[in-house]
């Protein structure tokens, strides 16, 4: 983010993989690692969001700590001795990647294939996936009860995609429960609280009250949840439809930066265009005012741009 520091901040010095590193006080271990150019995998971390440290893929070893420590949330302290690639660290990263890869559809999550290779993760070793849950079944799961099966198949969160509005779809078979959408919709940005985590344990899920369709919920279609979702579980309907039809092609897309014309706030828009059609709208996370957030008009109100007079579809 581009906040201008108003006071000169104290710094702390810690050791990372044997090297001394000095960072401003208040930095996380992850910030310090990034400053060193180290590549730490992260999933639930979001640069514009309060850390929830739920995914546990960014764990590092800190001397004196019995358990591993989430680098995305733990503040760097003077004298800390951090190891980012010990056997314990690598093992738990591998296992987290396997746990997610064997229970969630990560086909649209960035970096996962690379991390799987790097950490030797083999999600398939937990066996073939169990059949997907019928529509609504995961939403009705009662806390403290489960059907165990015989262990020959691996339980997953697979379930039908939720399509209940024209703006975006929710494919919770791809959800890693990173809490980012809940934070984006709630206290961190939008303050709408249309969605929350419901249920418990492996049956925990993102839900509206009683799994009500989005149009019946408090959702205002700002799409700020889509902007922070790291897995593609939340997706523009336009992107989803194109992907379903096999026509999604990022290499054929251009991104045009512009300013939203609806009101005086002047949010930055990035229009993703494929075949002369806007397929999704994002906003830069590092924008000092909006931090990637938009409202329904900037996010989804683009249809008028491409309305063409009947018969005038000349591709211009």
């Amino acid at each position: 983010m581009s906040a201008v520091p108003v006071t000169i901040r104290r710094t702390v010095e810690l050791q990372i993989d044997g090297d001394a590193v000095r960072v401003p006080e208040g930095s996380t271990i992850l910030d310090a690692c990034k400053a060193r150019g180290l590549d730490i995998p992260t999933l639930c971390y979001g640069e514009t969001l309060t850390p929830v440290n739920a995914c546990r893929v960014c764990m590092v070893e800190v001397e004196g700590s019995r358990v591993l420590v989430p680098s995305c949330a733990r503040k760097a302290e003077d004298g800390m001795v951090v190891r980012t690639r010990s056997d314990r660290v690598d093992h738990s990263r591998k296992m987290v990647l396997e746990f997610l890869g064997s229970s969630v559809d990560l086909s649209t999550t960035q970096h996962v294939d690379r991390w799987n290779r790097e950490y030797g993760a083999a999600p398939e070793r937990y066996g073939p996936p169990a059949p997907p849950a019928p529509e609504g079944a995961r939403d009705r799961a009662q806390a403290g009860r489960h059907h165990a099966g015989d262990g020959q198949t691996a339980a997953t969160v697979a379930q039908p995609v939720k399509i209940d509005n024209e703006n975006y779809v929710r494919d919770y078979a791809k959800c890693i429960l990173c809490y980012k959408c809940v934070e984006g919709c709630g206290t961190d940005w939008q303050n709408t609280f249309a969605i929350a985590v419901a249920g418990r344990g492996f049956d925990a899920r993102i839900a509206t009250e009683f799994d009500a369709p989005l149009p019946d919920s408090a959702c205002v279609y700002c799409g700020n949840c889509i902007a922070v979702c790291p897995t593609g579980a939340l997706m523009f309907k336009s992107e989803y439809d194109l992907r379903q039809a096999g026509g999604w092609d990022e290499s054929a897309q251009t991104v045009t930066e512009t300013i939203c014309s609806y009101c005086g706030v002047g949010c930055s828009l990035e229009l993703h265009v494929q075949d002369n059609t806007i397929v999704k709208v994002t906003s830069p996370l590092d924008h000092g005012v909006t931090h990637g957030n938009l409202c329904v008009k900037g996010r989804f109100g683009f249809q008028y741009v491409q309305n063409r007079a009947p018969g005038a579809d000349d591709g211009a």
Partner: protein, 617 residues
């Protein structure tokens, strides 16, 4: 915040249940009326500050109506200014809340490990035969039975809990329970009179923590005072807060809730914290399978807890305290409520405790079926009306606990030790027990022993001696294994009867005293189903927040199921290696103690007892 609520009005009964807790709505804003578009906009800071009433209100709706309907939840949200998605997230977190219509009469039958040793499988089979499968409505649809994790009545296994919703809502325990008892309970739910405590040592003059159990009337403050009650609080007031903390520090009392943290250090940190107010929380969630000590203490000596909490509050500058009591403990709830009301009426709680100008009061809160809410930070979230998900530490409760204020959180047993510490002095207390584990310990003996029950012994007592006190293995059979510390603890073999029961000695051999569980298994018990039950428990009770625990507990269960059915993927050794890898990741990378210990009992059974060795051979 702009609340948008689902579009159906509550029934009169639902509205009455909610208003019964919150009082009648003050204005049309938070009352029934709202704009035609379904939005109720209100700033309502005062209403939001009542969010901690969410759990009590949900309990009331569940208790009166038998389930929480969308309309009832919507009304709760309007009254408390809570977004419905969040309230739904909270309600769906707890096993005791139903979000679909359910029969008003529910019998929860314990199928956990202590009850497994005492015939719960036969009981369940019998119920399936005579009443029908779990969760299905037999006959008139007015009643069902459900399987339950440990109900905290392991000394009377097999146990069951009957809950009846409606205007005459009530709950009671049946233990030991037979199929005909359960069938009778399903037909009508008349509460039998509560049984006497199972404290086989009762009357033994060497008892300290248990000395009043069975000897005082738990409903009578006078009876408690006649047995020496409130002498400790008087002494504490005389020595002043700093004096009390000094004695507790000198006693070297270690917390009995599982983590063995020095109580004196915790109290001192909160007492010195300049941020106000301070809160005191008594952790009485007691859901570790095999644990029932706090229940017995509260049921039979509730004033001791009230007095001990008053001393703790006085010493650490807390004027307001909460007891978070397990939801499945109806008798303890009733007796503790009565004790708190009684103490308040007689000036032992309130604005001027014992006429000494001390202000202190206690509120009682009920869990709703979630083991994880015993984890201290999950407990704070639960009281505050949020999902019972553990917070990350730091910050620690002494700096930022309940309502983000400095908080003392202690287990029931830790607290009641303070009575004698204040009366005898910390130094005298520290002479009991071992060098590092001072005082006596409550031990919950269950499973295949002759006389299950709650026992008290100084730290350092040998495992074998304790089993002897309980009459040894029932029926003169051979001992196969002992589970120490509950599902989060570890198994030891019969070669460990000489093990000294202290924090340090158990740690040295890689096990734990945990919450004081000593569960014995004899030669006739097949440990594989026991391990499967433990794995199922952790899967059910994981809050789901972090990946290692949310998925790891499932993968652990699946690997065990394959081993149990002798259909391993690869060899048995491969599966054991996989279990080891899963366990390591849960231990290293989980947020809280649940995930960090979820593999321990299974790991110890594999290593120490070589449970799957035969299959491997």
């Amino acid at each position: 915040m702009d609340l948008k609520l689902l579009d159906s009005p509550p029934t009169t009964a639902e509205r009455d249940a909610v208003d019964g807790v919150l009082g009648p709505p003050a204005s049309a804003w938070v009352g029934g009326e709202r704009g035609a578009d379904g939005h109720a906009a209100l700033g309502g800071h005062a209403a939001r500050a009542q969010r901690h009433l969410l759990l009590p209100v949900l309990h009331e709706v569940q208790g009166r109506i038998g389930w929480i309907s969308p309309a009832a939840l919507g009304y709760v949200c309007r009254r408390l200014t809570i977004p419905p998605a969040e309230a739904y997230g909270v309600a769906s977190f707890y096993a005791l809340f139903a979000l679909e219509p359910r029969a008003p009469l529910v019998t929860h039958v314990c199928t956990d490990i202590a009850c497994m040793c005492r015939g719960s499988s036969e009981l369940v089979a019998e119920l399936e035969r005579t009443v029908g499968p779990a969760g299905e409505h037999p006959g008139n649809g007015r009643s069902i039975w459900l399987e339950s994790p440990c109900l905290g009545m392991c000394e009377r296994a097999p146990a069951a809990l009957v809950t009846r919703a409606g205007d005459e809502a009530h709950e009671h325990e049946i233990a030991p329970a037979s199929a005909s008892d359960v069938a009778a309970a399903l037909a009508s739910a008349d509460a039998p009179s509560p049984p006497p405590p199972l404290v086989p040592q009762a009357g033994d003059p060497s008892l300290r923590l248990l000395r009043r159990i069975g000897r005082v009337d738990p409903g009578s403050l006078d009876s408690y005072r006649a047995a020496g009650g409130y002498a400790a609080l008087r002494a504490a007031i005389d020595m002043g807060p700093a004096g009390v903390i000094r004695e507790v520090t000198d006693s070297r009392l270690l917390g009995r809730g599982g983590a063995a943290f020095p109580t004196g250090r915790k109290w001192d940190a909160v007492a010195r914290n300049p941020v106000r107010p301070h809160y005191l929380v008594c952790n009485a969630d007691e859901s570790e399978p095999g644990t029932f000590k706090d229940r017995v203490v509260i049921e039979h000596d509730p004033f001791a807890l009230v007095e001990a909490m008053t001393i703790a509050g006085f010493a650490t500058g807390c004027e307001r305290a909460f007891v978070y009591l397990r939801g499945e403990y109806p008798l303890a709830w009733e007796r503790l409520s009565t004790a708190i009301t009684g103490a308040r009426a007689r000036g032992f709680l309130g604005d001027d405790v014992m006429g000494a100008g001390v202000r202190f009061d206690i509120e009682l809160r009920k869990g709703a079926g979630a083991y994880i809410c015993g984890e201290e930070t999950a407990l704070f979230n639960s009281i505050e009306g949020y999902r019972g998900e553990p917070r990350s530490k730091p910050p620690f409760p002494v700096d930022s606990g309940l309502f983000s204020k400095p908080t003392v959180v202690n287990n029931v047993e830790s607290l009641i030790n303070v009575l004698d510490i204040v009366l005898e002095g910390g130094a005298a207390f520290a002479r009991i027990g071992t060098e590092q584990s001072t005082g006596t310990r409550l031990f919950c003996l269950s499973g295949c022993v002759e006389r299950p029950g709650l026992y008290e012994a100084p730290f350092g007592v040998k495992l074998g001696e304790l089993l002897e006190m309980a009459g040894g293995v029932a029926g003169g059979r051979q001992l196969k294994a002992v589970l120490l510390g509950g599902a989060a603890g570890a198994f030891v073999g019969p070669d460990k009867l000489d093990l000294e029961l202290s924090f340090e000695a158990t740690r040295e051999v890689g096990t734990t005293l945990g919450s004081g569980v000593i569960m014995a298994f004899d030669e006739t018990v097949d440990l594989v189903p026991v391990l499967l039950r433990i794995a199922a428990f952790f899967r059910d009770e994981s809050c789901g927040q972090c990946v290692p625990c949310r998925v790891g507990t499932v993968r652990q269960q699946e690997a065990l199921l394959r081993l149990a059915s002798e259909r391993p993927r690869g060899t048995v050794a491969d599966e054991l290696a996989l279990l080891d890898e899963i366990g390591q990741a849960m231990r290293d990378a989980s947020i809280c103690g649940l995930g960090q210990t979820a593999a321990n009992a299974i790991d110890s059974a594999v290593r120490e007892l070589r449970v799957f060795e035969r299959a491997a051979g």
